[in-house]
């Protein structure tokens, strides 16, 4: 049985969301080409502090690509993404944007947590080493501080007894919860989730979604690419539906996911909900 996982409100103190009027994430007219295929066609989107945005849509719509651009794992071909007003992957020089060197981009990425569909835990490192490596190496924390915090986070995701295990010996759901703890250990101001439950069976999906719900309740700003319509309805403030590289519909999740105005959204939702039951 899944142990109910709760994230207590005091995680809010760790995450420390800032209440500001300027959006945390500003995506401004982003275009991306892959080969001859245009995957993003001028995407605009703002995400405010403490909001949860779910990106929905059929596969191939460009959701994951958009997410990867926010973290500069890929750079857009046109358009700029700003986090806290700072252009990602580039510095401004007059009217031009000059690509930043990779080590500068690393510094920007350190503030953005990312959770992948395939977990991507480091298999040669124990769970604890997976979590404390970046805080020590990138943030310069002491090993003792990082370890203490790692145990706190493991406690929160309900896996404190797995600190010494290796990722291979854990179930998919456990691995994904570790991956979330690993991302949180960097005290990110934004969390990106790229189909975090797509590789999990329904039973394990719930334990991961529970952790994410706790995180949202604690005020973390999150952008979630997902196919879990129920999760989006329940947790997301904003739902954005993408198709063919553009956002076809965006708004409060309750409206978009219950009374969609675009026929494509309606079709997509009907199909997704059908698959669920």
């Amino acid at each position: 049985m899944t142990k109910p996982v709760s994230i207590t409100p005091d995680i809010a103190a760790i995450i420390a969301p800032r209440v500001e009027s300027t959006p945390l994430v500003q995506i401004s007219n982003v275009w991306k080409k892959r080969g001859n295929n245009v995957v993003l066609k001028g995407v605009d989107m703002d995400v405010h502090h403490g909001k949860v945005v779910c990106l929905l849509g059929p596969s191939g719509a460009g959701k994951s690509t958009l997410l990867r651009c926010i973290n500069a794992i890929e750079l857009p071909d046109r358009g700029i993404i700003y986090i806290d007003g700072e252009a990602i992957g580039a510095r401004r020089e007059g009217a031009r944007f000059i690509r930043l060197p990779e080590r500068e981009i690393s510094r920007q990425r350190a503030d953005i947590g990312m959770v992948f569909q395939n977990f991507n835990l480091f298999p040669h490192l124990s769970v604890l080493e997976n979590i404390i490596d970046a805080p020590i190496r990138v943030r310069g924390e002491s090993k003792a501080t990082a370890t203490e915090r790692a145990y706190e986070l493991l406690e929160r995701v309900g896996l404190a007894n797995k600190a010494k295990s290796y990722p291979r010996h854990l179930s998919g759901g456990q691995q994904q919860r570790i991956a979330i703890a690993r991302a949180l250990a960097m005290r990110p101001k934004l969390m990106l989730f790229d189909e975090p439950t797509s590789a999990l069976d329904p039973h394990l999906t719930d334990e991961v979604l529970d952790v994410m719900k706790g995180l949202a309740a604690a005020g973390m700003t999150m952008i979630v690419v997902t196919h879990e319509i129920h999760f989006a309805r329940q947790v997301a403030d904003i739902a954005a539906v993408m198709a063919d590289g553009v956002i076809i519909e965006m708004g409060p999740s309750k409206d978009v996911l219950t009374r969609p105005s675009d026929p494509r959204t309606r079709k997509f939702l009907a199909r997704s909900l059908q698959e669920d039951h």
Binding site: N71, R109, N120, Y166, R182
Partner: protein, 301 residues
């Protein structure tokens, strides 16, 4: 509808259990094979002990002779340095080949193409006779520019430096491909996860990619190491006093060819055995977290 009675669960079916078990068929052929192998081994042992041609007393006399021991020291020294050079060049060239920079890529490609494409023997003799092409070796601006340092090539290139350059550059080209294969074997998601955590490019390489690539790099590198240990004997053509050259000098004088070749063979066998054990432990280290299940072959009657 009637369900069948469910037996109480127990730890393991007892001897009176109804559960059928699949057993191996009898392997009569294996007994004949064991007999054949045993006969062959007995014949080899008999020959080794009774054939006077082996001249074991001469073998044992030379096993620990100073000339042979200095040859071994030279072989070990050369092997270690050549492999070190090979690994360092290999890492650099592999990274160059995997970079997106077209110039670096082309240079690395050219290096591998040239040093893999020409015989080592030619490279060795070339370096040894470098003085014929360039009487002076120096550092400066080419095409008549100023020279910063300059020394005669005959001073700079000894048997040892010629052997090291020839073997080391060649090994670098092969190691580059082994290391590149290892790096390519690591899933791209690992690099992405590392980047997402804010690791700088070198940290991603050092902490995430290389340790995982080692799993694929170590076995062929062990192979190269063992091959190189024996391949250093080619340096006898540039008169380097390594193990093979040292026994050659002795049997050219005493004509005890067979026993002295056995001395060399035994020493190579001993050194290779040590390397194989070392390789086993290195491999085990890099399998940490992978839970490798090694299936031991079992001889069953």
């Amino acid at each position: 509808m009637n369900t069948s009675a469910i037996a109480p669960t127990q730890e393991w079916p007892g001897p009176d259990s109804q559960a059928d078990q699949i057993v191996d068929p009898p392997r009569y052929g294996r007994w004949f094979a064991v007999l054949a192998v045993a006969t062959a081994l007995a014949w080899v042992a008999f020959q080794l002990l009774t054939n006077p041609g082996f001249q074991w007393e001469i073998v044992f006399r030379y096993m620990l002779s100073p000339s042979v021991l200095t040859g071994i020291a030279m072989t070990i020294q050369l092997t270690l340095l050549v492999m070190l050079m090979g690994v360092v060049i290999g890492v650099v060239v592999a990274l160059m080949r995997m970079s997106r920079d077209p110039l670096l890529n082309m240079c690395a490609h050219g290096f591998v193409w040239f040093f893999r494409g020409t015989p080592v023997l030619v490279q060795l003799v070339f370096w040894y006779n470098l003085a014929a092409l360039f009487p002076e070796i120096g550092l400066g601006i080419p095409f008549g520019g100023p020279k910063f340092i300059e020394i005669p090539a005959t001073v700079a290139i000894s048997s040892f430096t010629a052997a090291m350059l020839g073997l080391g550059l060649n090994e670098g080209a092969y190691m580059a491909e082994i290391i590149r294969a290892g790096l390519l074997s690591v899933d791209n998601g690992q690099t992405e996860a590392s980047k997402a955590l804010g690791h700088k490019p070198f940290q991603t390489f050092r902490v995430v990619v290389l340790p995982q690539a080692m799993k694929a790099i170590v076995p062929p590198t062990g192979n190269q190491f063992i091959g190189m240990l024996k391949f250093t004997s080619i340096a006898s053509v540039v008169a380097l006093h390594e193990l093979m050259h040292s026994v050659e000098t002795i049997y050219n004088r005493t004509f005890e060819t067979m026993p002295l070749l056995i001395v060399a063979a035994l020493w190579y066998l001993i050194m290779v055995s040590i390397l194989s054990v070392a390789q086993y432990f290195i491999e085990r280290h890099y399998l940490k977290g992978w839970q490798a299940e090694v299936v031991q072959p079992q001889l069953q009657p």
